[in-house]
């Protein structure tokens, strides 16, 4: 028995030493590792990150279609949450993020300090976060669209999850939200219930709408769901720079509305400086909220695949995308 053990341990030691010897023979750059499923050598390829919201998928769908059909690239897409996507971008696993909603910490670390990521300018769409109620409900109670009157309606918004308070529904944990602080600082009789993912939140909103039930939800524009479920924004205390500054120091003190954010593109620095057609094209990529929603709705509401939706939009709007193509 003991002899066996010695042998086994010896063998394990030998195996470990072999691995060390093998791996010791050279440097391995962690930033230079492609996906095993990439196209065969020689093909030009780009990797784009798509986030879980449909607007981001719409950007990628159109960019992918044009890269593949106009510029002959092979395009890989990777679905990751925002912060891991920044990390992937800095490592070169992903070449571009086409829609970022503002991550000052990450920008500081990767764009300013490490310089592994390069800002790519706006994508033309302006994002806005806020609180929304369904139009069918706001029509009946017009004063619900001001936060000062929300407590009056807390009763109607009660669910089994929010208990004795009204329910304010939030979405994915990766989204920028101050709702807990807002509810506390504005002394609202509400409980923030996190749906946990955008998919769950959309499903719940659709369900409420089908029943014509009142609800209050954290939501954002541009978003295709507005076409299906018309919603009215609830006015929050006005956004000011002073309030934003206070919030930057202590997030729990925020007591004003969310800012409007021009959505930004970010590129891996090597990719951006590499002078490829793809980089030039993605830098030029810039459209409008209406354009994006057109694609988003095809994907999310009409049940088209992202590729198909991208194709249809491209076929319909050559005037818009022709300007994005790099000059030969």
């Amino acid at each position: 028995m003991s002899r066996t053990r010695i042998r086994v341990l010896g063998a394990a030691g030998l195996a470990g030493a072999t691995l060390l010897a093998l791996s010791g023979c050279g440097k391995a750059d962690m930033t230079k590792q492609g996906s095993p499923f990439q196209a065969q050598g020689g093909a030009k390829s780009v990797t784009l990150s798509t986030q879980t919201w449909v607007g981001a998928q719409a950007n990628v769908a159109v960019a992918k279609y044009l890269l593949e059909h106009e510029l002959d690239y092979h395009v890989d897409t990777v679905q990751v949450d925002e912060i891991p996507a920044w990390d992937a971008l800095s490592q070169g696993r992903v070449d571009a993020i086409l829609e970022d909603w503002g991550h000052p910490d990450q920008e500081q670390r990767y764009v300013k300090d490490k310089k592994t990521i390069t800002a790519g300018g706006g994508n033309g769409v302006t994002g806005h976060i806020g609180w929304w109620v369904p139009k069918y409900w706001a029509d009946k109670h017009p004063d619900v669209t001001d936060w000062k009157n929300l407590n009056k309606y807390a009763d109607q918004l009660r669910t089994s999850e929010s208990g004795s308070k009204g329910q304010l529904m939030d979405g994915s944990p990766s989204y920028v939200t101050n709702d807990k602080a807002l509810v506390k600082n504005l002394k609202l009789d509400f409980e923030v219930v996190f749906a946990g993912s955008e998919a769950a939140q959309i499903t719940q909103i659709q369900q409420f709408a089908k029943q014509k039930k009142p609800f209050l939800t954290y939501w954002y524009e541009p978003q295709w769901l507005f076409n299906q479920v018309p919603m009215v924004e609830v006015k929050l205390p006005e956004y000011t720079d002073a309030c934003a500054e206070k919030g930057a120091k202590d997030p729990s003190s925020i007591d004003c509305a969310y800012p409007t954010t021009p959505l930004q593109k970010f590129f891996n620095t090597e990719f951006a400086k590499g002078g490829s057609e793809a980089a030039a094209f993605l830098k030029n990529f810039k459209w409008t909220k209406e354009n994006q929603n057109e694609v988003s709705e095809m994907i999310a509401s009409d049940g088209l695949s992202a590729d198909e939706a991208g194709k249809r939009w491209v076929e319909k709007h050559p005037d818009i995308w022709k300007k994005w193509l790099p000059e030969k």
């Binding site: 095993p36 499923f37 679905q79 990751v80 946990g196 769950a200 029943q211 049940g303």
Partner: protein, 663 residues
């Protein structure tokens, strides 16, 4: 603690004589007495020092600082530190190269070659029926227009399973040969299995970046433990008589291992392989959250656009792959012991069969390449997304509310939340922390030894120390409620299935699908039916844990000695009496195992519940991953491990050490 009741009674093995039972009972009383005395001394002290009911803040450790610094260090040094450049980088490269090699091979074979090869191998090792299943499965994944993602997943799975088997077998070998290593290994394996995959996705991503290497390593961590466990079990369980005989023939230690112990353990080894494959496949979707590509990625992307139909189209090939691999390895295990004649005609045995398979596969591959494309022909596909979505809409419209008499699913969910989940959560949160520790200590001590009680209590205390007492109590309430539903349904269906062969046969494919269907697919329908919150999380957990409980219950009841049942019947017992007084008591170990598996599986889905509004620890883990917050995600993950350990000790009577230091 409603859910613990099935097992809370003092441990009494059914075959022990009455006198010992009485002694055990009084021993249980003695244990309670000791605890009561300890409580009487300690509780006033604790109360005087920290008078709060929740965990005192003096007794917590904040890990945010150190964990945050760790993650910063990794990000800053990832591209330069020798550990990464000379070791982890190569590991990552090796993964990419091997997965790429397998993927290229699969593409080279083309759809004809892969389908033919897999079908022939299944025929060779498992028989005609399973070969037909394999053929059909690959055809279906092609028809669903999922050929390329299926090949990507297959490539990843092949490499992951090989790696898991190698790692698991080495660990198991060590544990099987050395008592001391076995003792060290057990808690490690426990942790690997209970730690929610979500919790270590983040550290893995930090080190390897998103992509295939990270996904593969996370899969190995998850899938290697069953192989290790079963290898160790097989080696330790080898018949001492045979070993004695081999030694007396003068075999050395290594000869004994290779000629006797390993061959004797081959059934366990194959079962280990089988389990590893299933675990690896169940990680396919979760790993897609860190960029694993393939089928899982299709499921995950479909979830983001709330498209159940598209998610199902990608999930069906996963389920089929799992069923084919499960059946093939299971059948291979069964055939191993059978005599050669039963294995079919001579032509299908030995090297000749393998050579035949190779030649035939090559021929079919060539034919496929000559005929045209190597990927599935695009004309031969069927789009199922639309009809599936329509069906889901129809179902939700008709079940959500206003169903006569029984009420709609939304009403059930609301009632379940306010009548079961809320009181349970409020009760557990209001329970003073020392009270919770006492209950855990008492329960685990009553059915185990002081060691298990100590582990359970320490695990519970660790949750407090980590500063996540409140969310943990919330999670615990969800687990207990879901577990109660799972056990009630599972035992009921299991008992019915044990009584009827036909029902069992009908149930089998249903259970297969429930077990292998990625949870992400049914999250959306579950939310549509039960509204956002803790109720859909509980429902998802029940769906996931139910099959295992039903299976183990059925099997346990089936294995009860027929003679005992016969004698009961001959004494005039009704079917109900036989069940209650003979079958159930004799199947007690199996039922306890079912409870235990229920705990583990329910706990695994609690994390996923974070995605549909389950809140608490699951939400923290998901948030940690989404926001790159190592401290938040990892601490919540560790708390889940602690909950798992505690529940395991409270529900599993220890047979390991019944004599000696107990009591």
């Amino acid at each position: 603690m409603t859910a613990a009741t099935p097992t809370a009674s003092p441990a009494t093995a059914p075959d022990q004589p009455g006198a010992l039972q009485a002694a055990l009972r009084s021993r249980g009383l003695r244990k309670i007495l000791v605890l009561a005395v300890a409580a009487a001394v300690l509780v006033p002290l604790a109360h005087a020092k920290w008078s709060s009911g929740t965990w005192p803040s003096d007794l917590t450790v904040d890990l945010t600082g150190p964990l945050g610094r760790t993650s910063d260090w990794i990000i800053d040094n990832r591209d330069s530190h020798p550990l990464f450049v000379y070791f982890l980088g190569h590991l990552s490269n090796a993964v990419v190269i091997s997965v790429r090699a397998v993927y290229q091979l699969l593409l080279l074979l083309g759809w004809t070659g892969v389908t033919a090869g897999v079908t022939l191998v299944a025929w060779r090792v498992a028989g005609v029926r399973i070969a037909a299943t394999a053929l059909l499965s690959f055809a279906v994944s092609g028809v669903l227009d999922m050929w390329l993602p299926t090949m990507q997943t297959l490539a990843l799975m092949i490499v992951a399973v090989v790696a898991s088997v190698v790692v698991g077998a080495l660990l198991g070998l060590a544990g099987g040969l050395s008592e001391r290593l076995f003792k060290i290994l057990r808690p490690v394996l426990d942790t690997m299995q209970v730690l929610p995959a979500f919790a270590y996705l983040l550290p893995v991503v930090l080190v390897f970046g998103i992509g295939v290497p990270a996904a593969l390593l996370a899969t190995v961590v998850y899938a290697a433990p069953p192989m290790a466990r079963l290898t160790a079990l097989g080696l330790r369980g080898a018949d001492p008589g045979v070993l004695e005989a081999v030694s007396s023939l003068g075999a050395t230690g290594r000869q004994r291992l290779l000629t006797a112990r390993l061959p004797l353990a081959r059934k366990e080894l194959l079962l280990g392989l089988n389990q590893t494959i299933m675990m690896a496949l169940s990680m396919a979707v979760i790993a897609s959250m860190i960029g694993a590509a393939g089928l899982g990625d299709r499921v995950y992307q479909a979830l983001a656009s709330v498209d159940v139909g598209a998610a199902l189209a990608a999930a069906v090939p996963i389920v089929l792959l799992a069923i084919v691999m499960d059946r093939t390895t299971a059948a291979a295990g069964e055939r191993m012991g059978a005599d050669p004649v039963a294995r079919g005609p001579k032509l299908l045995r030995g090297w000749r069969a393998w050579a035949g398979i190779a030649v035939l596969t090559a021929l079919v591959t060539a034919a496929g390449r000559l005929a045209g494309s190597t990927v599935w022909p695009s004309g031969w596909t069927v789009a199922i997304a639309r009809p599936v979505n329509d069906f889901k809409e129809w179902m939700v419209d008709h079940l959500y509310s206003g169903v006569p008499v029984v009420g709609g699913t939304a009403d059930w969910a609301a009632h379940f939340t306010s009548w079961v989940l809320d009181p349970l959560r409020d009760g557990l949160t209001a329970l003073p922390w020392w009270g919770a520790l006492l209950i855990v200590a008492a329960l685990s001590w009553l059915i185990g030894t002081w060691r298990t009680a100590l582990t359970a209590t320490l695990a519970m205390a660790a949750i407090g120390v980590l500063g996540v007492w409140k969310p943990s109590m919330n999670t615990l309430s969800q687990v207990l409620a879901a577990l109660a539903v799972t056990l009630v349904l599972g035992f009921a269906v299991g008992i019915l299935a044990a009584g009827s062969k036909r029902l069992e046969a009908i149930l089998r494919p249903v259970l297969d699908v429930m077990q292998t269907m990625p949870q992400f697919v049914y999250l959306i329908p579950v939310v549509a039916l039960f509204a956002v919150g803790r109720a859909p999380a509980a429902a998802a957990a029940v769906v996931y844990a139910l099959p295992a409980v039903i299976r183990i219950t059925t099997q346990g009841l089936r294995q009860v000695d027929p003679a005992a049942m016969e004698s009961a019947r001959s004494l005039g017992a009704t079917r109900w009496q036989t069940l209650r007084q003979v079958q159930l008591p004799l199947a007690r170990p199996a039922l306890l195992l079912a409870v235990n598996q229920g705990v583990v599986l329910v706990l695994a889905v609690v994390i996923i519940g974070g995605l549909v509004g389950g809140g608490a620890l699951g939400y923290d883990v998901v948030t940690g991953l989404a926001t790159g917050d190592l401290a938040l995600g990892l601490v919540a993950g560790v708390a889940i491990v602690c909950l798992g350990l505690m529940l395991d000790r409270v529900t599993q009577p220890t047979q390991r050490r019944t004599t000696g230091k107990g009591a």
